[in-house]
């Protein structure tokens, strides 16, 4: 698993590439965790996970997503995911995560639903 983080206006955009399974779920959790911590300097209010490069995910990874979604909800922040590959989209549906997470077809659509400012910046490249 690899990851990269960008800040676009009031959105933290986290891109995940590769595989998230029982062996890499902890690393995935470590990537997301700092952006859930609101005890120090306030984190950006919104998180979008770009899963376009995610090729494999099991229940261990889904659990990490749920922890993130719950933490954001408790802090009154928004979290969404975007750009699922077809097999990952199927896994979301089978596990019913499509009913509890906001899923957008593309990063662009995810950004524009979260923040018009971020969408404009994204558009501008």
């Amino acid at each position: 698993m690899e990851s990269s983080v960008r800040q676009i206006a009031d959105v933290t955009l986290i891109r995940i590439d590769g595989r998230v399974d029982h062996a890499t779920a902890k690393a995935f959790e470590e990537v997301i965790k700092p952006h859930l911590d609101d005890t120090g300097a306030a984190p950006l209010p919104k998180i979008l996970l770009d899963l376009g490069g995610l090729s494999f995910m099991t229940s261990a990874g889904l659990r990490v997503l749920m922890i993130a979604a719950k933490a954001c909800a408790a802090q009154g922040r928004d979290l969404a995911v975007a750009a699922l590959q077809p097999a990952i989209a199927e896994i979301f549906k089978i596990s019913r995560f499509d009913l509890v997470l906001k899923i957008h077809p593309t990063v662009e659509e995810g950004l524009s639903s979260l923040s018009s400012e971020a969408a404009v910046l994204w558009e501008a490249g």
């Binding site: 399974d21 902890k26 494999f56 659990r63 896994i91 089978i94 596990s95």
Partner: protein
């Protein structure tokens, strides 16, 4: 070794409603398309070949009770409402005059896992011996059964039973030889505690792991489950909820999910994963859909590894040989 499921539903017995039966009849009639059947055999053949399983049979509504057929004494997991039908069968087979020995392995004492005992005729017949094994303390096991058969819950009290009932506490760090099986147990995360069982005999391995909430939080817990399931021929697993339900609204309700079962069984190299303890709110179509989705999930995450996946139904039989 042959595994026979007498009850497979979680939490509370369910019966098909009149509306449900009417829908099934309507579907079957539509599929028959006005066909005429010359003989009973023709009709039976048509039912098997052309009427889908949820319509012609369904998954049943009795709660947890599973028989392992091997050796000359009766061996069962749990005493849910399915035990009533097992009792009818043994009474028909032996009548009241030939004493028998029964060995029950109890995951825990929640209602749906013990409610069949008052309706199991052999307990009222002197000469029968019933061994009850569990991971809980003998005093706790006894207390649960005594309370179930006491005022005001049931008219025949525990002290009035005719059979000899022997309670045994098993420990998790030992291997027991009982009834020709080599037996280990493991403790599971569930309100009041529950225990999973691993039975080995003649080179075949069966695991019964129900009423267990596998949270994936703790690597040590996951590794322990994987090693308990290791290379089993059959794992019967609590697949009551979807993963989303299990980690949100039904968190800490004590049950696992269909996809967690797949992940654990794949890692453990299990040959056959059988989904068990069905949510009472699920109708037969939903249980079949769950099975199909679970198989699809295993296909995606299995990456070429093959594993049989089934979903338990009342009266299902699985042969391990």
């Amino acid at each position: 070794m042959r595994v026979r499921f007498w009850g497979t539903r979680g939490s509370i017995p369910v019966a098909a409603s009149g509306r449900t039966i009417r829908k099934k009849v309507a579907k079957a009639l539509r599929l028959a398309e006005g066909r005429r059947f010359g003989t009973e055999e023709d009709l039976e053949r048509f039912i098997d070949a052309s009427i889908p399983f949820p319509v012609r049979h369904g998954y049943g509504g009795d709660t947890s009770c599973i028989q392992i057929e091997a050796g000359d004494r009766y061996t069962l997991f749990d005493m849910g409402s399915g035990l009533r039908r097992f009792g009818q069968q043994v009474m028909a087979e032996h009548g009241p005059d030939r004493p028998q020995e029964y060995h029950f392995f109890i995951s825990h004492m929640h209602w749906d896992h013990i409610m069949g005992l008052p309706f199991f005729p052999p307990i009222y017949i002197p000469g029968n011996t019933i061994h009850v094994y569990g991971g809980h303390a003998v005093s706790m096991l006894q207390e649960a059964f005594r309370r179930q058969q006491s005022n005001p819950c049931f008219p025949v009290y525990w002290d009035q039973l005719g059979a000899r009932i022997v309670f045994n506490q098993l420990e998790t760090d030992r291997t027991y030889e009982i009834n020709g099986f080599s037996i280990r147990l493991t403790d599971q995360s569930h309100h009041g505690g529950s225990f999973g069982f691993r039975f080995e005999r003649g080179g075949k391995v069966l695991v019964y792991s129900t009423d267990t909430e596998h949270k994936l939080e703790d690597d040590a817990q996951t590794d322990a489950a994987v090693s308990f399931f290791k290379d089993a021929d059959l794992v019967i697993y609590d697949a009551m909820y979807s993963l989303a339900d299990m980690v949100t609204v039904k968190e800490d309700w004590g049950h696992s999910s269909n996809v967690v079962g797949v992940d654990l069984c794949l890692r453990a190299g299990v040959k056959h994963y059988c989904m068990f303890h069905h949510e009472p709110a699920c109708d037969d179509d939903m249980i079949l859909t769950n099975l199909e989705e679970t198989r699809r999930y295993a296909e995606i995450v299995g990456e070429g590894r093959s594993m049989t996946i089934s979903t338990a139904y009342d009266d299902m039989v699985i042969d391990l040989s």
